[in-house]
Symmetry: C2
């Protein structure tokens, strides 16, 4: 007979999921009600309004997709890309590659703009790609690359798209709630995110938003969207507003309770304060890591505060370090992906996990573990440096 | 400032979600851990084994999709249907129509076999459709039609598919855990279900299973699956087993805790006992409703015990009855869909909600509400009839 599962108590400082607040966990466990219950519909309206606040948009086509971030990505591409459409896809990490897969699976033509992993998307290359290709329908890029910890200049890239009469699709999975994101102000046409990063909600929901221009493009489609589940014209019958909601699919009721609570917490803190908190604790972590002699993959101006890619010291087995952190400290940090596997760790400071206790725990655990393995690091420096930073 | 959301305490006797056990809600609120955490991977293996038990199959391609039942349907069609493929789709309610949409959106040709809403799929018509069409790749039908409460003969229909060298796709959203379902024994090639019906878990996850023949068909695809999120070849890198899991998407960690617990509860009760419980309380409800003078849409041999479509008494505004049940009893029952809207109610007895208290509450609340509206029903008969049934 299988037994009930009791997870260990971890501190989640990887690339997500991040630590979930007890308030959000408690919300998730409230009694399930029907997905057409008037009380549930009232809650859906609040989710929508708070999500518009988080994204900084008043677009009515703003809602959570009933599946994780990868499905949010797919919802953007499957609704906007038609066979033969040209899409400029910027790749500077794992998720640009996934965007290419999306474009091609829906019959589009992906024009790749490549930048080194760990570098931001180069706007000049994007301009050249527009100059070299006529009739580009969409520019797609990742705002905050979870695989490397790089922030690209979404405002400028979206402006280039507008200047070339193209739509923009932006991956904001790791930026939403952690770094400045201004969907309407920057003219983003389609954006998707996840709940399990800087919003500190369990994974499983993907918030998205489409601009008026994107909605027009969806309405002008020549072919039926090659997905029923993600067809936003159908989904809007349920999420569209008003008292009368058409059944499309059964909403993940309890996951939406949790998401609602995480958005209430964001509203309480204030969006700008949340961004500042991520920056503050990142600075403390950076000071501590640098004092230890650990360096960053990403150049300072492009670093994501909420995801820190740092170099594994010479000669150290990075997987063994992660295993020991998990075993001895219940602390999870992330591995490098793709070309960076074995070379970097990804240390997340996302949402509820972005706090002083976690910064100090991480520095202490990492220093002790690395010392035990004979790594060439400075000892006894990291914690005092971080404490001094906090004392300023 | 938006406030936290506290849902009302409902009794869920509609078409799903059904009442969720406090054990499952408690599991859902346990601390989130990483989707690549060794402890989480151990739990995934248990989910897979228990799901094989629930489906009655030992197929390794048995797993929960990270999205609701509609995405489970889409996972079956998007992986198995290629452009130009002929698919016989049986329609005897809402969900057959959705299957047709799926086939066509993925470039397949849907050959429709229609039966009246409230009737089971007619195997003779399916045989005729195979006789009239060569090279049919797939037969698709709904085992338990949630829109009408009809059970079709899945064993016989799958045999017809095999006799014609076709694969079968079976919608078992409402049957899994509530009515006999024998995936391997009946030779079902692709099956999908939901968590929020007879498994009494919050909505958001869709268990699926593919047979060896289905896996071969997926591996022989000429074209790439037109979905990245639902491409089972990729998903298997994560759910496939073994200690090393490739990241595909971030699993909905807490929703899977809940699903794990609901499967533990099913294992504890025993699959056959769960089927018998659904039958037993259905019989009690039937006796009570018939004593009140309320009749069933579906002929007795094809009735789903877990979903009872019953006629609204002459001259009664069915929506008003549902509103009053919700307002006065916190009791949710379902409306009719499509052609049956306004004519029937759908009374669910699913999973944890399938118990004596709910049967008696529903009979009492319905009788009192209908009496108050002057409906032509027999008074004072329903509860004694049900009590007498239980006393037998």
């Amino acid at each position: 007979m299988t037994k009930s599962f009791y997870p260990p108590l971890r501190t989640l400082m990887g690339p997500g999921p991040s630590d979930v607040s007890p308030r959000v966990l408690a919300a998730m466990a409230r009694p399930t009600i029907g997905h057409l219950d008037p009380e549930f519909i009232r809650m859906m309206d609040e989710v929508k309004q708070m999500l518009q606040y988080a994204f900084k948009t008043d677009s009515p086509l703003t809602m959570p997709i009933s599946a994780p971030g990868s499905a949010g990505m797919e919802a953007c591409f499957v609704n906007l890309v038609e066979p033969g459409d040209k899409v400029i896809v910027c790749q500077n990490g794992v998720f640009g590659g996934r965007m290419k897969e999306n474009v091609e699976r829906f019959g589009g033509i992906a024009i790749m703009v490549e930048d080194e992993w760990g570098k931001p998307v180069d706007p000049a290359k994007v301009e050249s790609a527009f100059a070299a290709n006529s009739d580009v329908k969409i520019l797609a890029f990742v705002h905050a690359e979870t695989s490397t910890g790089v922030l690209s200049d979404a405002k400028r890239l979206c402006q280039i798209a507008r200047d070339n009469d193209a739509l923009s699709i932006v991956d904001a999975v790791t930026s939403l709630g952690g770094s400045e994101l201004d969907v309407a102000g920057w003219g983003i046409d389609a954006v998707y995110s996840g709940t399990q990063k800087c919003l500190s909600c369990p994974p499983g929901i993907s918030p998205i938003s489409f601009s008026e221009r994107a909605v027009e493009a969806i309405e002008k489609r020549q072919s039926k969207t090659p997905s029923w589940f993600l067809d936003q014209k159908l989904v809007m019958g349920y999420w569209g507003g008003g008292a009368k909601r058409a059944y499309h699919h059964t909403a993940p009721v309890n996951s939406l309770y949790a998401f609602h609570e995480s958005l209430v917490m964001l509203e309480e803190e204030g969006l700008e304060n949340a961004w500042a908190r991520h920056r503050h604790h990142h600075d403390a972590l950076r000071v501590g890591l640098e004092a230890m002699g650990i360096g960053f993959l990403v150049d300072e101006p492009y670093r994501l505060p909420q995801l820190n890619s740092v170099f594994v010291p010479e000669g150290i087995d990075e997987a063994k370090v992660r295993s020991q952190l998990l075993a001895n400290y219940n602390l999870e940090i992330g591995a490098g992906l793709g070309a960076l596997a074995g070379k970097v760790w990804r240390i997340g400071l996302m949402g509820s996990a972005c706090n002083k206790q976690n910064v100090l725990l991480c520095l202490s655990a990492l220093e002790n573990t690395l010392s035990g393995m004979g790594a060439d690091i400075a000892k006894g420096q990291a914690l005092p440096a971080a404490e001094a930073f906090y004392a300023e």
